[in-house]
Symmetry: C2
């Protein structure tokens, strides 16, 4: 790593300040700007850099050319005691997501389950962000979103589904379970990393233009066809493909938003059409079932973490543990470590938007 | 294949008659016996032989030694407009499953979503069986069940979760989507097949006793540690592990049933304790969201099936297509093709239970 690539330390509060200022500069109302900054710094804090400040410029560009409406407030189109159909009105993903999950939470508290589908939404960052809101209220939470086509169905040469993530979480006593996963084997970011390192891809990550799996990172990147979780058909990639389709049915198809190949590409320069993504937000009150849920969850997590590891230096983890370890590490060193490239982008953004540059050590 | 292994043709109705008689012979009431036979022949009809008549003897043995109560009827322990907590009272899995999904359907029709958790259940066969009930009512359906420990969490040498299947389905106009998958890369049955054929396992299926993946079918079988969907950590097996854990949380942990390593082994001889499996049954009315759901589903399926295949002789399928093709093939040849080994087991069962033997061509 060249010295120019040495990471620099940015305080969590300063990262949030800078991103809030960026959104304010493109006329996003303060509460929406802060919600977006919280979401993005929250991703970086957890170590999911691909979904944090790394995407700031894309959101800003979408807002600058009005392909996203930063001021839009979601509206309920249809409602039952346990469901709602919401129009995000092309607002910011986090504004739609927070609104819909809070509505699902309210319904779950009233009748046991809240199931809220949104159309007219935009990229909502890390899916687990919304599930965390349910966990804070002692509820189980789940959310899925569709995304731009990037995954090839099993046997297909072409992409027809997105990375279509799914997040599910459950509260536990002094603990939690928090799964947040793309239904592709890996995200594009991981292929970019191998490409930059000049290293081959493991099997099962991506396809070449003929639809066969490839270990060539450059070819995989230019082809743009990720494989579903499970890889090729022989190792059950059709299951990951099935899960990706399930996500789109729960999100885009249910909501009457775009789905499958109808979803536009999301480019660095921003897009000139509305994304009209579909998303679902589900909250369930575990007290509707057997009493003592959170105690059992703690025991359940303990049974998993207590498994004898194959390599003693790599203990068995529960979904969400990696993110917690990352947050602790950030707290210990007193900030988030951003790469020099990221900071250059921020410096350019500060100049372009005429705001106070990002401070770092 | 030796001539002794040539498959024989059994009419669907005769397979059902025989299995019903078996259950009646161990004092299962007629309606429960027929429900079990429908479930098992339904699996064979769809080509899921591992979950059909292949398991008849295990169910019969469990009933014969009273580790399952064939006459038990489920009871509701707690209820809200959209949820129910049910005690299966150690009844047959299909009796619990049909009851709970019908209750979920009723609630979905009333308030949009029905979410029913059952404890005290037993193996319920193919998960999609219950989702089909929701589809027939124009609803989306979902179910999960926990099962005996057989999957090693990522990094673990030991099994701590079952194959923990998940089924999700959605109705479409003159079509449907019906996913039914274990959250392990493959089921044990596939390893048995490679073992009998004396062929190596593909990567990512199973572990050896040190926790590394193995291609040795014999060693994999004796170790009994399946890998999660995705295989090893490098190809994102932790996602399959996370999904398997999610299934157990939705099923066993929520229901207050057994979970993780608390679930007993299920042996051929039957078990002398109650399984106390946990299951969840979810129904959702898509009419609560954007109108025209079934038309969009048909278009969605068409976009997937319409992808250009890598191999023109292997078209892109949608979840459930394989099962439909199998049912058509059974209809064409006029019966289900059972292997000689299976028929020998049936002959022995007929003698033991003193019932009319299975007829075949």
């Amino acid at each position: 790593m060249s010295s120019a690539q040495q990471p620099k330390l940015v305080a969590v509060a300063e990262s949030k300040r800078f991103m809030t200022d960026c959104f304010l500069a493109v006329n996003v109302p303060r509460d929406h700007a802060e919600a977006m900054a919280d979401l993005l710094v929250g991703a970086d804090y957890r170590g999911h850099f691909s979904h944090g400040m790394n995407r700031l410029e894309m959101y800003i560009n979408d807002l600058a050319i009005n392909s996203t409406d930063g001021a839009a407030v979601p509206v309920i189109l249809k409602e039952t005691p346990s469901t709602a159909w919401v129009d995000g009105r092309n607002g910011l993903g986090v504004v739609v997501g927070n609104y819909c999950m809070d509505l699902a939470i309210k319904k779950a508290k009233a009748v046991g389950v809240g199931w809220v589908c949104a159309k007219g939404s935009n990229h909502y960052g890390i899916a687990s962000w919304y599930v965390l809101r349910a966990l804070k209220e002692g509820l189980m939470g789940m959310t899925t979103t569709n995304t731009s086509p990037l995954m090839a169905p099993t046997r297909s040469k072409e992409a027809a589904l997105g990375t279509n993530p799914l997040s599910f979480g459950a509260p536990a006593k002094d603990d939690k379970f928090l799964l947040d996963m793309a239904t592709t084997a890996v995200a594009v970011g991981k292929i970019e990393i191998q490409r930059r390192k000049g290293e081959p891809l493991p099997d099962g990550w991506a396809q070449d233009p003929t639809g066969n799996q490839t270990n060539d990172a450059e070819l995989a990147f230019s082809t743009g066809c990720l494989m579903p979780l499970g890889g090729p058909e022989i190792s059950s990639g059709y299951k990951g493909y099935g899960l990706g389709a399930m996500v789109d049915i729960l999100s885009g198809v249910s909501a009457g938003a775009n789905y499958s190949t109808k979803v536009r590409k999301w480019t660095h320069a921003g897009a000139n059409t509305a994304a009209d993504l579909g998303q679902v937000f589900i909250a369930v009150d575990p007290n509707c079932f057997a009493p003592g849920f959170e105690d059992r969850m703690t025991d359940f997590n303990g049974r998993l973490r207590g498994c004898e590891p194959s390599d003693p230096s790599k203990p068995v983890l529960v979904a969400g543990d990696k993110e917690d370890l990352n947050m602790k590490a950030v707290d210990t060193v007193g900030g988030i470590q951003y790469l020099e490239n990221q900071l250059k982008t921020c410096a350019a953004l500060a100049e372009r938007l005429n705001i106070k540059p990002l401070s770092f050590n």
